[in-house]
């Protein structure tokens, strides 16, 4: 997985699990670079994408902050989504699909869903 995607995924997961809360500040790019010896462009790219997704916001001269948000989903709602996904995955595994194939199918379907949603919105 591309390193910037790893960063995005980690932040997303931290928000989802509540380790990062609305208003929390993400580490400054310099701090990330110094700590894990990573290309600053990669961190910028990840932060930009997170901002584009609406998960974080850039406050000029202050840093990047987790947004107050409509993004946070209620645990009950999350559980419902998870159950339906679980049903689907059991079907896929019974059909003999490999893990990579399942993940690839998820990724492809997600792309399709994003496209459909943006078409509906547009």
């Amino acid at each position: 997985m591309a390193p910037y995607r790893q960063i995005i995924q980690q932040v997303r997961q931290a928000i989802l699990t509540g380790r990062l809360r609305p208003g929390d500040q993400l580490p400054a790019v310099r701090e990330v670079v110094t700590t894990i010896a990573i290309n600053p462009n990669t961190v910028f790219k990840a932060y930009r994408e997170l901002e584009h997704e609406g998960l974080v916001e850039l406050r000029q001269g202050q840093g990047t902050f987790v947004r107050q948000g409509p993004q946070a989903m209620a645990p009950a709602e999350l559980a419902v989504l998870r159950r339906s996904l679980l049903r689907w995955m059991k079907v896929a595994q019974r059909a003999g699909l490999q893990q990579e194939t399942i993940l690839a199918l998820c990724a492809a379907t997600l792309q399709e869903a994003e496209r459909l949603l943006s078409e509906e919105a547009g």
């Binding site: 591309a2 290309n39 462009n41 990669t42 990579e100 492809a108």
Partner: protein, 300 residues
């Protein structure tokens, strides 16, 4: 925007042997570029052509719009180069090297470099010949950063370093990148870990550029497919196959695709940067036994 580094049909021949051929590149400004390939692939030749140490046999290189060999006096202030052997004076101290650099360059700022060397506990007052390999590489890197060049070229900077020294070296380099925005070009035959520090990839093998692309893009577009050998011919009409192997029961192919939906007969696997590089190098290994000119048309 002019690219800091551009080459067009660049080539260098030693006697009958082409060390580099048909090299056409544009490296995005501000990026960190990994130039990877096996020993003898032409990496050092390309780097030395870019910094003006070699005269091209054919084609041209442009650094900030100028030819590095013919317009050396214009290009040199824009370029910092650390050769594989680091080219330090073993009887001079790090402090003396920094003084030398300050007197020989118009643009020079070694405040951050001294600070960094200090933090790494590298003695500035000891002849560099008596420093460890990792410490010497930090001094050489420090000198190249103090020059504040638009392009920093490092030839195999990681080759002689142990894992900790390698980590510290890359850390220094990335910290400097936060401040400077210079373009960094480093060659390496060690691929592991490069995807963290570099964002652009150039694979060089048998004197030719095999691929030049963003690393994120390379990681998304290359996949390994495993499936029945009978499906291989059809696959090759849909996606460019980088490298494939087959037995009577199973075919494995690394292809360059857009990560869209695949034929279900193929099982899809994602690849690490190292695996992608290996696929390109394995391909050229096979090409080695074929006539050279044929390789040219196929790689192009």
């Amino acid at each position: 925007m002019t690219a800091v580094v551009e080459t067009e049909q660049l080539g260098k021949r030693y006697g009958n042997l082409w060390a580099l051929r048909n090299c056409t590149l544009a490296l995005p400004s501000g990026s960190a570029v990994a130039l990877v390939g096996p020993n003898g692939a032409g990496k050092t030749t390309l780097l030395e052509l870019l910094v003006g140490l070699l005269r091209p046999t054919e084609g041209q290189a442009r650094i900030c719009g100028h030819a590095p060999f013919d317009e050396a006096s214009v290009v040199l202030p824009h370029v910092a180069f650390v050769a594989q052997d680091q080219s330090l004076y073993s009887n001079l101290t790090a402090a003396e090297h920094l003084t030398l650099g300050r007197k020989l360059n118009h643009r020079w700022n070694d405040v951050l470099v001294r600070d960094r060397l200090h933090r790494l506990r590298i003695p500035l007052d000891r002849p560099v010949g008596r420093l460890s390999g990792g410490q010497r590489s930090q001094v050489a890197l420090g000198l190249s950063l103090a020059k504040q060049a638009d392009l920093v070229v490092l030839d195999e900077p990681l080759a002689s370093l142990d894992p900790l020294a390698r980590q510290e070296f890359l850390q220094t380099l990335m910290e400097a990148k936060v401040d400077s925005g210079s373009t960094v070009l480093l060659s390496s035959h060690i691929v592991s870990g490069l995807e963290r520090v570099c964002d652009f990839l150039v694979i060089l093998a048998t004197a030719r550029v095999q691929i030049a692309t963003g690393i994120d893009e390379a990681l998304t577009t290359h996949v390994r497919l495993v499936g029945p050998p009978t499906a291989l011919p059809a696959l090759s009409t849909v996606y460019p196959i980088v490298f494939s192997t087959e037995t009577s029961r199973q075919a494995t192919a690394v292809v360059r695709a857009d990560g869209e939906i695949f034929d279900p007969v193929w099982e899809l696997q994602h690849l690490s940067l190292e695996e992608i590089v290996l696929a390109y190098l394995s391909r050229t290994r096979l090409d080695d036994i074929e006539p050279k000119e044929e390789v040219a048309t196929r790689a192009g």
